[in-house]
Each structure stands twice: as structure tokens, then as C-alpha cells.
Symmetry: C2
Subunit: 154 residues, 2 copies
DNA sequence: TTGACAAGTTAGGCTCTCCTAACTATATTA
DNA sequence: TAATATAGTTAGGAGAGCCTAACTTGTCAA
């Protein structure tokens, strides 16, 4: 029985997601890379790894490579998924630039529960479905935003 | 010159917003009410008030009523506004129930910068504009969600 | 006016997350 | 293989944000 209901702090979620992204195929990564990815000292990574090991989310032994456990992978995938959904929404519908979208997704992913995330996913899916009306709406919205910007500049 | 660029922690943003909502017309509230509103001990409120006074956002004297300064009002209004925008989006477009929307807005409001918030506002405005196509889209999306739910239950 | 209760503050402590500096283990390469 | 560079850990400390318990101030009613 994998422990699933222990809630992670957003900080630990960040570490988990970073490991997930860095580990890739072989499911292996290093402390140093995590530190760089998140922008934190190596000492902080050691601390986080201990906490994640405690929760059975990473395989961690001092001085060894780091990998995710099965439940770690599940939890990380969920977070990464949320991230992607948010990013898609920001980019494809709100038409925000990629960097802003990436950053905002990072922060917001910790704040939204599954209810909203699922709805948001549905919305992105729905709007993306090839359908003349919806396609038009997105285009019109872009125009709407541009016009608004112009109006402000005056 | 009002100091505007000091970033607030999400915790302090919560206190500020609570004061804003509680203070109402007379711009006056009490420590106890803030504590209850946020769900935190009175001692924690005292701490937060000191921090907010430090940043010139509240008028705070021990054992007195609490009010927002002018810059406090501005900052709080901005946060409350973000909250409203998010809530509208969740309710009116994603068609999420009010309680979920309220809660999610609370958490997400700290995570989104002005870029995204503005776009989101534009989007809500845009979709709300009386326009047959957009109105239809929202209706269709609701149906889409319901169908999806049904499909899952099988 | 005074005493009891409510509101507010202080003190002290806990957890989380981060840091730097110093140390240890591992890897590289001459 | 020994010296050195790189990666990882430990120790110690800071600050934010929260708590409880005890104390102080303020208020209201007998």
C-alpha cells in the first residue's frame, strides 16, 4: 500500500518535480543538478532528499545517485501534469508569453486542487478541439487583447 | 512617495486582505476578528500587524483599533481584486462550485503576477460580453463537462 | 468604582526552508 | 597510485510563521 495522502509542502513538490524532470529515462539524477535547477544550495537539497526519503518518495542513500520510488513517480507526474495544464492554458488561451507562463505555472501548480485542475484541463481540451467557433473565439480574444493594449497606450 | 515595491509574503497578503474585508466603510477592525477570519491565534495577528506596520500598510498601535493606511488600502484592493477575478473565472467560465472557487482563489491569488491576472480579467470580460458565440461556448463547455463526468462513471 | 471577563500582548518554543563554512567521499588524471 | 578537483554531507544559524500559556490592558455592568 503506497502512502498517498501525505500532503507535500510546495517546497518539497518543487524538489520532486525537479527530480522527475532531471531523472528522465534512467530515473537517475544528482544532487548538484537538482540544486542548480531549483536555484538552491547543495545543502538544502540534502535536507529535502531526507524529507522525501522519509515519505518514501525517493530512493536516497548518501553519496549515491538519486531516483524516484514508484509512489514518488506518481506524485511527481501529478505535479508535472498540473504544471503542463496550467502552462497550456496560459499560452494557448490567455496568449501569454512562454517564460511568463512557465514561471506562473510553477507557482500556481501548488495552489490548485484537483477539482480546478481537472476543469482547466477540460477547458483547454475543449477549446483546442477542432471547431470553427472555438478557434474563432481564441483568435478574437487575441485581437481583443491587442486592441485593449493599444487603447491603454493612448 | 508611497513605498510600493516591497513584496509581501503570501501570509502578509492574507492578513492585509482580511483587514480590508473586515474594516469596511469606517476602515476599522479588531485583532480578534482578523484572527477568526484567517483562522490563526491572536498572537499571530499581533506579529503580522507589527510586520505590516513596519511596511507602512496598517495604522497599528497596541491595544487600539486597526486600520489600513492609504498604501495599505491600495495594496489590499489589488489583492482583493485578483481574488475576485480568479473567482469569476472559476465560477463563470470553469463552472466550478462557489466554495471551491473561493478557496482556490485564496491560494492562487498569491501566485499570479499582474501579467496573467490582467489577461485573465480580459478573458472573463471578453467571454462575458454579450455575444451569441461566446455565450454558446460557455454553455457547450458545461455540457462537455457533464458528459465527461457521465463517461467516467461508467 | 471596582471586579470580572474579553481582547491584546509577550515570552518562549516549534517547524520549515534556506544559508555558509567546513568537512568527507568520490572521481579524475598526471 | 597519489594529488587534486568536484560532489555531497554536516553543523550551526537565520528568519518566517505559527502555536500555547501567562500576563496586561480595556470595558462593562453590578
Amino acid at each position: 500500500m503506497t502512502i498517498k495522502n501525505e500532503k507535500l509542502s510546495s517546497s518539497l513538490e518543487d524538489y520532486l518535480e525537479a527530480i522527475y524532470n532531471l531523472a528522465g529515462e534512467n530515473n537517475i539524477t544528482r544532487s548538484k543538478d537538482i540544486a542548480e535547477d531549483i536555484g538552491v544550495s547543495r545543502a538544502s537539497v540534502t535536507g529535502a532528499l531526507r524529507a522525501l526519503k522519509e515519505k518514501n518518495l525517493v530512493n536516497y542513500k548518501p553519496y549515491n545517485y538519486i531516483s524516484l520510488t514508484e509512489s514518488g513517480k506518481l506524485a511527481a507526474a501529478e505535479i508535472a501534469n498540473k504544471h503542463e495544464i496550467l502552462k497550456s492554458f496560459f499560452i494557448e488561451i490567455l496568449d501569454v508569453n512562454k517564460d511568463v507562463a512557465q514561471q506562473a505555472a510553477c507557482k500556481a501548480e501548488h495552489a490548485l486542487g484537483s477539482d480546478i485542475t481537472e476543469r482547466l484541463l477540460s477547458f483547454v481540451e475543449f477549446m483546442g478541439k477542432s471547431n470553427r467557433k472555438r478557434y474563432d473565439i481564441i483568435k478574437e480574444f487575441k485581437t481583443f487583447c491587442k486592441d485593449k493594449k493599444k487603447a491603454e497606450k493612448k
